[in-house]
């Protein structure tokens, strides 16, 4: 198992665009690691630089303490799965899977045996003689995975491995991919722009923007405590409520009402942004006794999410949304009160966009 250590990694393209900006990152051995971000954030460049397809402008890349920054892609012992799978259309499935072994000069019986074994492992045994054009999207993806697995690399790099599949197949492939990675235990870095995919698959996520890592953490940390408003906006299938707020002592004035301020947020930062996920906001049909002056308003929109409903409430000139179970749905136009679940209310600095109170980096 291989640890990846990137230090001060910078990539500036010929046109002067800085794709990676002094990046420091460590991926632990056996970890399933996601690079998440909007398009143009540098995540694909980072993956390609690790593969050696792009040359770093400065900084170092180490695989298991070996400096590979200037090593040719073929000598890095990595396997990459591309978004379009990059299967060779003129080769059969078995030839595609065994291609890296062929390049490495293995004898034909050996590489065919390996390709068939890996193919069986990935449920491709009935398809080995076919050409890629005779395969479905999901099957093609598994062939591409099998080709990566067959050469037993130290590292897997996946570039948007699921984005060419349709929605239902994607869920299926997600489970498959996660199980495969667990079984093989190979350090894996994958790139995605889909936050749900990153949350579902990864052991840890690096959320990137403009060539820098905005937040690094487990899916739970990234979801529950986004480090800044960019991450808060990007993560979550229903967008986080981000509304202007004022700190008054230990209270937070929000949307015409008052919440108890999170611990450690002091009055010094008077103008702030309050952030709370709709999933963590409770609805009450009467003023709650334990939270007097809670924000209140009328229900304007109901959006059915299946087992839950997304309720949008107009209160004090702001729109706040909350997710409620299907049987607790309020009537449109009715008056409701809102309170956060304990410990779920977040406060962001208006200038820097960072989460308050700032944590000691060591802690």
């Amino acid at each position: 198992m291989t640890r990846i250590r990137l230090t001060g990694l910078t990539k500036v393209f010929d046109g002067g665009v800085t794709a990676l900006d002094r990046l420091d990152l460590t991926v632990e051995p056996g970890e399933f690691f996601a690079l998440l971000g909007p398009s143009g954030c540098g995540k694909t460049t980072l993956l390609r630089t690790m593969a050696g397809l792009e040359q770093a402008t400065s900084g170092t890349i180490r695989f298991a303490e070996r400096d590979v920054t200037r090593v040719a892609p073929g000598d890095r012992d990595v396997a990459m799965v591309f978004q379009d799978y990059a299967l060779f259309p003129h080769m059969t499935v078995v030839d595609n899977i065994s291609y890296p072994l062929k390049v490495k000069g293995r004898a034909k019986p050996e590489r065919t045996a390996r390709a068939e074994e890996v193919g069986r492992q990935l449920g491709l045994e009935a398809l080995t003689a076919r050409r890629p054009s005779a395969l479905s999207g999901g099957q093609q993806q598994r062939v591409a995975l099998a080709r990566a697995v067959a050469c037993r690399p130290a590292l897997f790099l996946f570039d948007e491995p699921l984005s060419n599949l349709d929605a239902r197949l994607r869920l299926e492939a997600r489970g498959f991919l996660k199980r495969l990675q667990r079984e093989l235990g190979v350090t894996t870095v994958f790139v995605t722009h889909d936050q749900a995919e990153a949350l579902a698959l990864a052991d840890r996520i690096a959320v990137m923007e403009s060539g820098r890592v905005r937040q690094l953490g487990t899916p739970r940390e990234v979801f529950a405590r986004p480090a800044d408003t960019f991450v808060a906006n990007f993560i979550g299938s229903t967008p986080m409520n981000l509304v202007p707020a004022e700190v008054e002592g230990d209270r937070l004035r929000v949307a015409g009402g008052v919440f108890a301020a999170p611990q450690g947020v002091v009055a010094g930062s008077a103008k702030v942004t309050a952030g709370i996920r709709p999933e963590y906001l409770r609805l009450h049909d009467a003023e709650p006794t334990d939270a007097p002056d809670a924000p209140t308003g009328t229900v304007s929109i109901l959006e059915n999410l299946g087992a839950t409903t997304l309720v949008t409430v107009d209160c004090g000139g702001e729109s706040l949304s909350a997710v409620v179970p299907e049987d607790a749905e309020p009537a449109p136009g009715s008056r409701v009160w809102l309170t956060p679940q304990p410990g779920r209310l977040l406060v962001y600095d208006n200038d820097s966009g960072e989460l308050l109170p700032r944590r000691d980096p060591a802690g």
């Binding site: 010929d14 593969a51 050696g52 397809l53 040719a72 892609p73 073929g74 000598d75 890095r76 990595v78 396997a79 990459m80 591309f82 978004q83 379009d84 799978y85 990059a86 299967l87 060779f88 259309p89 003129h90 291609y99 890296p100 390049v103 490495k104 080709r147 050469c151």
Partner: protein
């Protein structure tokens, strides 16, 4: 009425199952061109007539005329010009027993093989492949220079090459510092082969540039990540993708080179008949020697050779598509 068996008769079959039998009967003979504008056959022909006329006058008539004079003893001057006699297949028998005909075929074969199939093809591909990752501006300059050789008028180009290869004060001799080598006399075939490679590479280069951009970058990168060498990448990834382009390009430049008249402007077919390739042989027979009937027979034989070549390539292309 029998329904023609076509691949797209499926809709008609579907309609046959329809509840209304009248409609089914109506559409049974459906696959036929529909005159949707209401022009009528006569007026439609009128629109096509000018094009047909031009094709007839400038393509069809000369072809038939050549066929005709090939069967006569028609000459440029003299009594046989005024009063040509039909000699039927005499010309063909003469051509097929004439050593200079086989000489010209052999020279044409060498010319096509070395200057087009190997020279232009190879050099064009190499230029396209080796410049593909250079900076756009550098590539433009290379492309422009190569293209220049292609777009200059033949007469200008011929003059330049004579000036370069001439025995008295030729540029090449001056560069090499050994005056007195008469390249066009001592190495005439090599000279026109190098000339034609230089002259025609632009087309292959541009065609291969376009073809190479159709190779998915991710497949090239997969080969790179596997550690494939340049040769392996070409063999395993690039050529399978551009095989159709290679065949098409080879077909086109073969036919063009086969009928190329450019070398005439440099060597005139000489010295002697050392560079008398097919087109030059034909010209010399017809215009210099005035033997028009004989040259008619030669041109028909050259046409047959062209058709055979084209059919062979097309067959290869089709086999590739069906595999």
């Amino acid at each position: 009425m029998p329904v023609p068996s076509r691949r797209d008769d499926a809709p008609a079959t579907a309609v046959t199952g329809h509840a209304d039998p009248g409609e089914a009967a109506f559409s049974a003979g459906a696959p036929r061109a529909v005159d949707s504008v209401g022009l009528g056959r006569a007026r439609a022909l009128l629109f096509v007539a000018p094009a047909l006329l031009l094709i007839g006058v400038f393509l069809l008539f000369p072809a038939l005329w050549t066929l005709y004079i090939g069967a006569t003893n028609f000459e440029r001057t003299g009594p046989n010009h005024v009063n040509p006699q039909v000699t039927w297949f005499d010309n063909y028998v003469d051509v097929l027993t004439d050593p200079s005909f086989y000489n010209s075929l052999w020279l044409t074969l060498l010319f096509v093989l070395f200057s087009a199939v190997i020279g232009q093809n190879g050099l064009g591909f190499w230029l396209a492949w080796s410049t593909r990752r250079l900076h756009r501006r550098v590539r433009r300059v290379v492309e422009s220079l190569v293209l220049l050789a292609w777009i200059l008028p033949s007469s200008v180009v011929a003059f330049l090459w004579i000036a370069m290869l001439d025995q008295r004060g030729g540029t090449l001799d001056a560069l090499l510092g050994n005056p007195g080598t008469a390249w066009l006399v001592e190495y005439p075939m090599v000279a026109i082969i190098v000339f034609n490679t230089w002259r025609g590479t632009a087309f292959s280069m541009m065609l291969y540039s376009a073809a190479l951009s159709s190779v998915p970058p991710s497949q090239l990168e997969t080969a790179r990540l596997a550690g494939a060498t340049g040769g392996q990448t070409l063999r395993d990834v690039v050529f399978p993708h551009i095989r159709g382009h290679v065949l098409t390009n080879t077909l086109l430049i073969t036919l063009w080179t086969f009928n190329d008249f450019g070398p005439f402007l440099i060597t005139g077919g000489g010295p002697g008949d050392d560079t008398e390739i097919a087109a030059v042989y034909l010209y010399n027979t017809a215009i210099r020697d005035g033997d028009l009937g004989y040259s008619g027979a030669i041109s028909l034989l050259i046409l047959v050779a062209n058709v055979v070549l084209a059919l062979a390539y097309l067959r290869m292309l089709r086999r590739r598509d069906s595999s």
